[in-house]
């Protein structure tokens, strides 16, 4: 298969699988498999989907490095935007269905409950990334775009903490997601270090002291 063909195939796969949880929820509303507390179920499904998509998004760059197959980078934006889509659903369900748009309840939750505080922060940090995901913004922000989009590391970490602080005793899944996140971040460290060395080498050309 040509490179162009396989990346197109991957994109189709991405769209189909990323829409699967939404389709499962939509069908469940009519077919009744969301259980007797559907608000809770839908909140959990959209939240977990957000975290998984964030981790997959963060796996794109290491995958590109390892496989040296550059087209894979084209999956990063749709993955990130799907993560934002599910985060927005998650947030809206919590605000509208769980708390009935009662601003005082919502505010109280954000201020007083650390797991909601961090979850809310993670969502807020994702908003500028979604807005600046267009070609126009990438051009306008230039190198600052890369800096700005490092916020996804913060969002992913806050998301995992949000999940970890929510569960009562069974921390296996949040710990698994946190471990994956840690691995994805650790793989970046040698590259950051190399870049930093390059930069230093570039800026420190004149004051080479001669012993």
């Amino acid at each position: 298969m040509t490179t162009r063909g396989s990346i197109r195939g991957l994109k189709v796969l991405l769209w189909v699988s990323a829409l699967m949880p939404a389709a499962w929820i939509g069908a469940g509303l009519f077919l009744g498999w969301l259980g007797v507390n559907p608000i809770e179920k839908v909140t959990h499904v959209t939240g977990l989907t957000t975290l998984i998509l964030l981790l997959i998004t963060l796996a794109v760059t290491p995958t590109r490095r390892m496989t040296r197959w550059n087209p894979v980078i084209q999956l990063r934006r749709p993955l990130g935007l799907f993560a934002f889509f599910y985060a927005s659903l998650h947030f809206s369900i919590w605000m509208a269905l769980d708390l009935s748009f009662q601003l005082s309840w919502i505010w109280e939750d954000i201020i007083e409950r650390p797991y909601i505080t961090v979850g809310f922060m993670g969502f807020v940090l994702l908003i500028p990334l979604a807005i600046t995901s267009t070609k126009g913004w990438i051009r306008r922000l230039s190198h600052r775009w890369t800096t700005l989009h490092r916020l996804i590391y913060a969002t992913a970490a806050l998301g995992v903490i949000h999940f970890y602080w929510l569960v009562k005793a069974d921390t296996r899944l949040p710990i698994l997601l946190g471990t994956i996140l840690a691995v994805l971040l650790v793989t970046r460290i040698p590259i950051w270090l190399r870049k930093k060395r390059h930069r230093q080498a570039a800026t420190s050309q004149e004051p080479i002291s001669v012993r």
């Binding site: 259980g35 007797v36 507390n37 608000i39 809770e40 409950r113 929510l166 009562k168 069974d170």
Partner: protein, 316 residues
């Protein structure tokens, strides 16, 4: 030791009206000395049919709490019973191979009449009755459940605790072969719960053997569980194999697991939030908008006097 009996709850608070208990018929039968049970069999079987077949009529069942009773499906498909897994649907999915028969219950500790009893023998002396109670989970959801069982106080009187018995400790069965959640060690099994003696003697405190007039399903704690309606649901220990009368306050499983978030008393209290979520409101299963949570889950008139000396913000 003085065992103070708190004022009885008005019967109107605890007896389901009309629907499942035709009181007039019951009184007549009781007067005639013919009724061992509070429910006439035909009413029960008719009700179970309607619940099981999801007849929309069940939604109209009103308890005398003037709150709708939750359906059989809601009560038996949405459970916290970590012995069978931590997701709400796990207990109904994973409890199929659990076998609550035969079953024995041990009475131990500071009592004059200790022993190990076959379940039938254990239940035989007691008058089984039906009660509709609110059930408020510490996770801020709630249900209204028609339980069947008998007051724990009846058992305690027969066991004859000695003066050293200050608390009652309950233990859940350990059967990792039949309880997949116990193989995961999410909690330190066996599950333990405890009550102060006056709480255990309170007429609202029930040992439960059934729901909706039927035997307890496995996922609800078959064949014997505790229900303390003014406390968070986790106090309602399930599948009990041991009841021990002790002098020291027993350490219950959730208190042991996370003392900052769960305590011994676990009284429903809208004014004392769980560290991670508000306890001021709750979602009644089947309802969209959250309800205000009631002090002591709406049983304050019957139980508040037991805690007049207790700082409820400290003793969570």
């Amino acid at each position: 030791m003085i065992i103070r009996r708190p004022p009885d709850i008005p019967s109107s608070e605890i007896t389901p009206e009309g629907v499942f208990l035709n009181r007039r018929a019951f009184i007549k039968q009781a007067a005639a000395g013919t009724a061992a049970l509070a429910i006439t069999p035909s009413v029960v079987s008719g009700l179970q049919r309607s619940i099981r077949s999801q007849d929309p009529d069940f939604a109209d069942l009103e308890s005398e709490l003037s709150e709708p009773v939750n359906s059989w499906n809601e009560i038996t498909s949405y459970n916290n019973f970590y012995e069978f897994g931590t997701a709400k649907e796990d207990p109904s999915r994973n409890s199929g191979s659990f076998n609550p028969k035969p079953w024995t219950v041990a009475i131990e500790g500071h009592v004059n009449n200790p022993g190990t009893f076959e379940l039938d023998e254990f239940l035989a002396p007691h008058r089984i009755e039906d009660r509709v109670y609110r059930m408020r989970c510490v996770e801020a959801w709630s249900m209204v459940i028609p339980w069947r069982g008998f007051p724990l106080a009846d058992l305690i009187r027969r066991a004859e605790p000695t003066g050293n018995a200050k608390f009652v400790e309950f233990t859940t069965v350990v059967r990792p072969d039949e309880m997949p959640g116990q193989r995961m060690r999410v909690l330190d099994f066996p599950y333990i719960e405890g009550l102060r003696m006056d709480e255990a003697m309170h007429p609202l405190t029930m040992l439960i053997t059934g729901v909706y007039g039927d035997d307890l399903p496995n996922q609800n704690g078959a064949p014997l569980r505790l229900v303390v309606p003014w406390k968070y649901g986790f106090k309602g220990i399930k599948s009990i194999v041991k009841i021990r009368f002790v002098e020291e306050m027993p350490m219950n499983t959730w208190w042991f697991t996370n003392a900052r978030e769960y305590g011994f008393y676990a009284n429903v209290n809208p004014e004392v939030d769980h560290p991670r979520w508000s306890q001021a409101r709750e979602r009644r299963i089947g309802e969209l908008r959250r309800r205000e949570t009631l002090m002591f889950n709406g049983y304050a008139d019957q139980v508040a006097n037991m805690y007049s000396e207790l700082d409820l913000t400290r003793w969570i």
